[in-house]
Symmetry: C2
């Protein structure tokens, strides 16, 4: 690919290195002028993004635009959407796959970028819609003829964190009498705790694994199957599957229904495929899931803009690279001022760190520049009473990404001292962004604030299926654009393999398997097992 | 205080700086020998701590012991327990308080270190026990004479994260027919979502604020009060309080009961005071709360050992300092292999980052060495399918602290392929620790693992009230010992003040208050409010 170019060799990186010696001083008098704060904003799909509190000026923005252009970030994004083999490493053994999660939502403005993949997505959506209708009209019901009220999604990682975060975000949109639960961990207490609160006779179990071979998921499936049998229920009437076409789980005799995902959809990018779709549409209704896809697709479309002032994901990607590679900050805090987004940072942590925590370039050599940061975060205002102390005065500078909504979801608010809770929430978010930027001099070093701690604000009217879909795609796209810029493959995860190999060796030992690779009694695995008394 | 000495000026730090030039190579042949793995472990209170996978050798351990001795860490801990004014900064205006959360659990081996504080803790415990008995025998009930089944704790930060994490960890120990919920965020949707699932007539509301003035808590209290009134219920029969003696909330006319905490108990260290006690004892039973205190106290006692090989919190503190200050890693991942500990990392994130994310020494000057790291984490094995890619192959090295249990809580397990889920869980934990340490050479840079990524393992038999108390105190003590070593005040939080000031200015503006400090229309606050359309 002619756009697989090494980050350090781009002309724009030289320019940015130079500019990074004197980053914009947010603490200077009038540094946050009304003009700057009004100008440093971009809007798309109902989302308003404010970055006046980043350490950038006109020169830096110009150089970042230059970086985007030189690295052909938008062209790479469009190539990805169109089905180019973007999951690859040239000259090394690699997955060599298309990356087409965007096709799952490219439903609204024909013709689609990747017609075959979108046709497959439409087929699955039609099957899902039919399945939901059959639940609705009673064609599918339990043995007593009663409706199913609960769906338990069994999956892990990409088959868990996204759907879970989205469900939690959109709970007020739940259909009457419907709910969703999730089991992920191989820890047997995870399933036990969920099962202890369920009426299995009204529960559908949705087992989600692309490969159909995920250890945790198959184990939990068996655990839940045996709980169904113990409860006198027929698993085949209660279990459905989402899996790769042709996987070991793609077996109509064992499941009431099986929905497909495809090789070109990576786990951590799969929330808008059937991986998220089945449970979300069951709980929130099919129309709400389509709204979510529409929000995601609108962002996908806006990500085709070449101008960073018209493309929020691109702008966020570049500001992240400025902070990471030029100012040298190695983590990012995602701070939604919305309790409903409690688990969204955990999903983005996965999406970002698994995509961009990489050491090999797409040209097959060792990467010579910092790649993906550590991503973490919790909702505000809670975090203000927890870890913000370090954000303001700690040794480490942590760029922050605030997310807020002008209106609440439930609209059950109270006015105290002249302001609503929603106003208090937003006032705090703005205040934190300003406090990080401005700082405050004080003769007592314990009461002084150095300021110049960068952040940005993402604000929209309300957390709805549409805006949730937009937020999700915005971060997905930001992450892949950063990966393109760093010239890494954001779509594989070779770094998880070694742990799997070692775990399997230990499990063979514990199972007393003689066929397995025999471990020497002096091996670290056996030594640690013995030391730990296991 | 003669032990308020600057970290950089200690002799041991010079020695450690020198040793850090050639840290132990975990990837060398036989680096993880059976002898090393067996020798590098410490046990206390049923907890086994393994650190053979840290980059330390005999010389480093000797130097770390020297650091502990020279900085008088244990003497400082004992001084703290005995009521010394450890919350202070010499020569600057500071809180000048004792730090006596340990007194809340110093109930088991007379005489207590701080007799007055322990007597006050006993008084509150006796009141709590009486209150619970009255709930049990029906003296306290709702207007229909029915028992209360649910307690909703309204608090934030220290009044929320610890109690919430502990409740979640110990849910299998819930008393029949009892449960607990939590409201923290000023986001009105937090309360609305919790209230939407409650039968208020059987619910007690436990409002927790040490100062009695916390914005979020008072706002949510009002919101819930009005929900009670709307439901035709009398708030005075449903609301209790935990607050500082004499605070604005210490008002018997407004609450069914008020339990006290004291100035010498910091919010983030308050889980073993009434802040955690009331809700935990209501839900889990008084005896289980006492077991939790017993576990915490046993660790407090073991923290008096001078020898780092007999004092797990001290050893963890020093290994953390080795990684932070000498090897230069700026974050720590806490990775419990237990779904029940889902929110424990969030509590420790608060406890650690609010305590040690500091820039002033206790001698009132600017700190010249890195202080507290960024603390984050999620349960395994879930994290393996999320962010572990970056742990193994990312640009950043993140020291990891694994926590595991030999047995599950519910004991509902299943054997597949010769091993139980619990065995799979633990095998994965050990494998991750080894994979991070050992690495693996491979000609494909995308499949090679550099190794030498440090971690430690904390293993105990089972997650019970006792072991949960021990784990909690272990981390609390680790954190304060690190603060002592860095010569910072781990007990204040001046870094959260500036954000509060700015938020109040914005709220005055939104409320149209003329009395408040008038903001100029060109101020960043107003500019941002306008830009954001608020």
């Amino acid at each position: 690919m002619d756009f697989f170019n090494n980050f350090a060799e781009l002309k724009a990186t030289k320019k940015l290195e130079q500019l990074a010696r004197t980053p914009y001083n947010l603490t200077a008098p009038n540094a946050l002028s009304p003009e700057r704060l009004a100008a440093y904003q971009v809007s798309a799909c109902g989302l308003d993004f404010f970055y006046g509190t980043q350490r950038v000026d006109g020169q830096v923005m110009e150089a970042l635009q230059g970086l985007a252009d030189e690295a052909q970030l938008v062209a790479q994004f469009k190539a990805m959407k169109s089905g180019a083999i973007m999951n690859r490493i040239i000259g090394q053994d690699s997955e060599e796959r298309q990356v087409l999660h965007t096709a799952c939502r490219d439903l609204f403005t024909p013709p689609p970028f990747a017609p075959e993949a979108t046709a497959e997505a439409r087929t699955q959506l039609a099957r899902l819609q039919r399945f939901l209708a059959e639940l609705e009209n009673g064609t599918i019901c339990n043995t007593k003829g009663e409706p199913f009220t609960t769906m338990v999604q069994i999956g892990i990682g990409g088959s868990d964190l996204g759907p879970r975060a989205l469900f939690q975000a959109l709970q007020p949109y739940c259909q009457q009498g419907r709910r969703a639960c999730f089991i992920a961990n191989v820890d047997p207490d995870d399933a036990a705790a969920v099962l202890s609160e369920l009426d299995l006779s009204h529960t559908l179990i949705n087992v989600v694994s692309k490969s159909g071979t995920t250890l945790e998921t198959l184990t939990n499936e068996e655990l839940v199957r045996s709980a169904l049998v113990t409860a006198g229920l027929d698993p085949a009437r209660h279990m459905i599957a989402v899996t790769g076409a042709g996987s070991p789980m793609d077996d109509p005799t064992r499941y009431l229904a099986a929905f497909h995902m495809y090789e070109y959809i990576g786990g951590r990018y799969s929330a808008t495929s059937m991986v998220g779709g089945v449970t979300l549409a069951f709980a929130l209704g099919y129309a709400n899931f389509i709204e979510l896809l529409r929000g995601a697709n609108d962002i996908d479309q806006s990500t085709e803009q070449l101008d960073i002032n018209e493309n929020i994901p691109l702008l966020m990607a570049l500001l992240g690279i400025w902070n990471r590679n030029f100012l040298g900050y190695n983590s990012v805090a995602i701070l939604p001022y919305s309790q409903a987004l409690l688990r969204f940072p955990a999903h983005l942590q996965q999406c970002d760190m698994e995509s961009n925590g990489k050491q090999s370039t797409r040209l097959g050599s060792s990467v010579q520049w910092p790649t993906g940061p550590i991503v973490w975060g919790e909702p505000g205002t809670n975090g203000q009473h927890a870890f913000y102390q370090l954000l303001h005065q700690g040794s480490e500078i942590v760029p922050a990404e605030f997310i807020g909504f002008r209106q609440s979801q439930y609209q059950q608010d109270i006015t105290i001292n002249g302001t609503t809770s929603q106003q208090k929430l937003l006032a705090n978010m703005l205040a934190q962004s300003l406090a990080l930027a401005l700082g405050r001099a004080h003769e007592n070093p314990n009461r002084s604030f150095a300021g110049n701690r960068p952040s940005s604000l993402l604000i929209t009217d309300r957390l709805t299926p549409y805006s949730m879909g937009a937020l999700l795609a915005l971060y997905e796209n930001k992450i892949v654009l950063q990966g393109f810029c760093w010239n890494i493959n954001s779509f594989d995860q070779e770094g998880v393999q070694l742990g799997k190999v070692l775990a399997n060796r230990i499990l063979s030992e514990l199972a007393g398997e003689e066929s397995g690779e025999l471990l020497s009694p002096d091996s670290p695995e056996i030594s640690l097992l013995r030391a730990a008394g296991l």
